[in-house]
């Protein structure tokens, strides 16, 4: 156990290092790039600001200070829990991120469920359906959904269920109902790779020796499938599913734009579009922490799903297949 604890501690430190490095790199890149919301506001020809006034505003935001000074001010505030204010809109960055995260988490979870259901259904059909044409059709589905742009799916669903049938409002958030269409859109958009990997995993697992052994012991096809093949064959797909969570939370800008949700994707897009430093930095901090966390959790989960994989192995690199033949699992 102590070695396990040491392992976890090392991984956590590594993750913190990655997050800090990402933050620093982003800060330097933002600084090096020309332009920022304050400059744009001052130079906006729709409401031009005389040069004398402009100077005063630049001083207020410390934008005339050297990069190191500005970095120290920002990090100092960060360590006190102050994420600062948007340069463009003056909103508290913390509030924006929390609002965006709340909206996106909900959507991400719903989309994940949709993606998992699609992947499981299509995957099982593609490998185990008794009829050949059905299996063939199911194998086509991932490619089809990958080829269709998400905004097209979204607009299509909006057109039918909102504009024509009026079942859902495209503007108001009416509780659980409003999440269905965007979740469907997003779920369909992220399902292809999970489905493909699952199909591959199931095909491989169903061809393994232990299946024949189980059948010779009299287990029904259903039991073999549900209890053993699915569990063995879904490890890669589960890894992908976990990574997809991070992807979904980082925000799907297009789906949020089509369905008018000001989630994390929207907040990020607005910030990047106008180079609004404080918000971009907060999002980078959040997303890099998230990815690191997800990676760590996934690695720690492997031994739980598959006891053959030990932590040592996963430290050396990914779920290698053990080279001695697997014993039948009659548990």
């Amino acid at each position: 156990m102590p070695s396990r604890l040491r392992y976890v501690a090392t991984r956590v430190l590594q993750a913190a290092g990655v997050v800090a490095a990402t933050y620093l790199l982003t800060y330097l890149v933002l600084f090096a790039l020309p332009g920022d919301p304050v400059a744009n506001r001052l130079d906006n020809p729709q409401n031009p600001v005389p040069p004398s006034q402009a100077r005063m505003i630049i001083e207020y935001y410390h934008l005339d200070q050297p990069v190191l000074t500005q970095l120290l001010i920002t990090v100092g505030r960060l360590l006190r829990g102050d994420l600062g204010y948007s340069l463009g809109t003056g909103r508290s960055v913390g509030d924006l991120v929390v609002q965006g995260l709340g909206s996106t988490l909900l959507l991400a979870l719903a989309a994940l469920v949709v993606a998992a259901v699609i992947a499981a259904t299509v995957g099982v059909l593609a490998v185990f359906a008794p009829w050949e044409p059905v299996r063939r059709l199911a194998r086509l589905v991932p490619a089809l959904s990958l080829a269709t742009p998400s905004f097209l799916i979204g607009l299509f669903l909006l057109q039918i269920f909102s504009y024509q049938l009026g079942w859902v409002s495209s503007l108001e958030t009416e509780g659980p109902v409003s999440i269905i269409l965007p979740a469907l859109t997003l779920g369909i958009a992220v399902s292809p790779s999970i489905t493909q990997v699952l199909i591959q995993g199931l095909t491989e697992a169903s061809g393994r020796p232990f299946v024949r052994v189980l059948r010779s012991r009299g287990l029904t096809q259903g039991r073999i499938l549900g209890r053993h093949v699915l569990r063995n064959g879904s490890i890669p797909a589960l890894t992908l599913l976990a990574l997809t969570v991070a992807d979904l939370i980082a925000g799907s800008v297009i789906v949020e734009s089509v369905f008018n949700r000001a989630g994390l994707g929207y907040v990020t897009e607005q910030a990047v579009r106008s180079q609004d430093g404080p918000i971009v930095l907060a999002v980078v901090l959040l997303v890099s922490s998230l990815y690191s966390l997800v990676n760590l959790v996934t690695d720690l989960m492997y031994p739980v799903i598959d006891p053959r994989i030990s932590l040592t192995e996963s430290r050396l690199g990914s779920s290698r297949r053990p080279d001695r033949p697997a014993l039948a699992e009659g548990t």
């Binding site: 790039l33 020309p34 332009g35 920022d36 919301p37 400059a39 744009n40 506001r41 001052l42 130079d43 906006n44 020809p45 729709q46 409401n47 031009p48 600001v49 005389p50 040069p51 006034q53 402009a54 005063m56 505003i57 207020y60 935001y61 204010y85 463009g88 809109t89 003056g90 909103r91 508290s92 509030d95 924006l96 609002q99 607009l155 909006l158 057109q159 909102s162 504009y163 024509q164 009026g166 409002s169 495209s170 503007l171 958030t173 734009s257 089509v258 008018n260 949700r261 000001a262 929207y266 907040v267 607005q270 990047v272 579009r273 106008s274 180079q275």
Partner: protein, 505 residues
């Protein structure tokens, strides 16, 4: 007919409602619906008229303004909008709040003092300022409660931080999604010249920012929204023919859509080249090719309803022969293999940056580019990222940038844009003394006739020298269902919902 909720879809989300700094279409409109101003500018005539200031006197030398304030006006938090409040507001507009990062209101003249004397507000300026009343009619001069003046910059940048006296009050705001306004009970101080007086007819206005053009139009057409701002010209035609909808165009008073030519570029230092561009662009062709009948060509650097406007259409008429003659005269006689004119081996080539603030810009620029190609002038179009637009515009090789929008005080703003001690938009660095003199003289002229004459001279000077190429009069396009009645605008084409009502029969 009183009552109902108007669901309004804006093309952009609110960015900053801090009055002195606000300039975007959406924020200035929201401000004007929840606040009032001293002066009302009539959208039809451009005249300045009473509003919160019932009447006023201007001293003979034009430096002292005495305003008598309407009685009984209150802010939505209950505090009084009285002479003292007006005084505090005017000081705040004139001086800003440096410690809080709040700039003075742009285009405000230099203030000597603001006092309350005999129940009136007396403003003393250091020099006469012809457009002072116009400045006071703009959204940056909106009157706000003390709590707003005291609030931080960040609080004021959000609409929930603005406490005004206007016909609507902010009920709630959700960032990036919606703003809910409700009727201000007891509102009774609309500009006297307006047809509708008293409280707003609508119970509520729900404003949603729907940035995607397709979704915005689709939502209107499905009946889930009542009105929206901006649809593309192609959709304009379709919607006008559709049953149950109306397309409304608003043209604000102010500067026309024009390109500023920069004299820092060697080729443009020759006025013949600039004048060739002036007459070489086929403005009618731009409108008929890209827009609908809601758009028109510009007749000067300002719109017709701006004070001092003079019709200079004959200077702007399309004349390719004259353009060619001017270019020949300037030495660009020969053409290279690609068909562009050359002088001493150098191609006549200009760079411009496609305007990021105008959604219809790209096709417009491409059409101008092809028109100029026929004349033998190469126009290179550069795309700018919204986040780097000020850098892109400031690049030293850029020859022309787009300018010109509706402004509350058009000539004051143009002076900031063109003047050598302002933005120096033509990059003359003060070389044209006549221009500088005219800009200054018109700003302080106290006699209307004298000022009109100066403005005529100024416009003629700018257009004859082709410092600026006026192209179009921009229209703000709105669309609404037929149930929306009396949809109206301020003088700068910002929608005002005070008199709007819904006919849901």
């Amino acid at each position: 007919m009183r009552g109902g909720t108007l669901v309004y879809l804006d093309a952009e989300a609110s960015r900053s409602t801090q009055p002195q700094g606000a300039g975007t279409w959406q924020d200035s409109a929201y401000l004007e619906n929840i606040t009032d101003r001293l002066i009302w500018k009539d959208p039809a005539s451009g005249e300045v008229q009473p509003y919160i200031a019932e009447s006023w006197d201007v001293s003979a030398d034009g430096t002292v303004y005495t305003f008598r304030i309407r009685e009984g006006v209150t802010y939505s938090d209950g505090t009084a909008l009285d002479v003292e409040s007006v005084r505090r507001n005017l000081e705040w507009q004139a001086l800003g709040d440096e410690a809080n990062g709040i700039q003075p209101s742009t285009q405000w003249p230099e203030l000597d003092s603001v006092d309350v004397e005999d129940g009136a507000v007396v403003v003393r300026l250091l020099t006469p300022y012809a457009e002072f009343l116009d400045v006071l009619s703009g959204w940056s001069a909106s009157l706000v409660a003390d709590s707003t003046i005291a609030a931080t910059l960040e609080e004021q940048q959000q609409i929930t931080g603005i406490i005004g006296s206007g016909p609507f009050v902010v009920e709630s705001e959700k960032y990036g999604e919606n703003i809910h306004l409700v009727r201000r009970e007891g509102y009774d101080w609309a500009p006297p010249s307006l047809a509708h007086q008293g409280e707003a007819l609508l119970d509520r206005v729900e404003i949603h920012a729907v940035t995607d053009d397709t979704t915005r139009l689709g939502t209107l057409r499905s009946g889930q929204a009542d009105a929206l701002r901006y649809i593309q010209p192609a959709d304009e035609r379709l919607l006008a023919e559709a049953e149950g909808f109306q397309v409304l165009a608003a043209q604000g008073i102010g500067a026309t859509n024009q390109w500023h030519l920069r004299s820092s570029i060697p080729a443009l230092q020759d006025s013949r080249v600039r004048r060739a561009l002036q007459v070489g662009i086929d403005r009618e062709g731009l409108v008929s090719g890209l827009y609908t009948e809601n758009w028109a060509v510009a007749q000067s650097v300002v719109t017709e309803d701006t004070f001092g406007f003079v019709d200079l259409s004959d200077h702007l008429a399309h004349d390719p022969e004259q353009a060619g003659a001017l270019l020949d005269e300037a030495g660009y006689v020969d053409r290279d293999d690609d068909g562009y004119r050359v002088r001493d081996g150098e191609r006549l080539s200009l760079v411009t940056v496609i305007d990021v603030y105008d959604a219809t810009a790209k096709p417009l620029y491409q059409l101008v580019q092809s028109q100029l190609k026929e004349l033998g002038i190469e126009l290179t179009l550069r795309d700018a990222d919204y986040s780097q637009v000020s850098e892109a515009y400031a690049a030293p090789d850029v020859a022309a940038v787009r300018s010109g929008w509706p402004y509350p005080a058009p000539w004051a703003t143009l002076r900031t844009l063109w003047g050598a001690d302002g933005g120096d938009g033509f990059l003359l660095e003060g070389a044209d003394a006549t221009l500088e003199e005219l800009l200054e003289a018109q700003a302080v002229a106290t006699d209307e006739e004298e000022r009109a004459a100066l403005l005529e001279e100024l416009q003629t000077h700018v257009i004859e020298n082709a410092y600026s190429l006026p192209l179009l009069k921009d229209s703000q396009i709105f669309a609404a269902s037929d149930a929306v009645k009396d949809f109206s605008w301020s003088a700068e084409a910002r929608p005002l919902f005070h008199g709007t009502w819904l006919d849901r029969r």
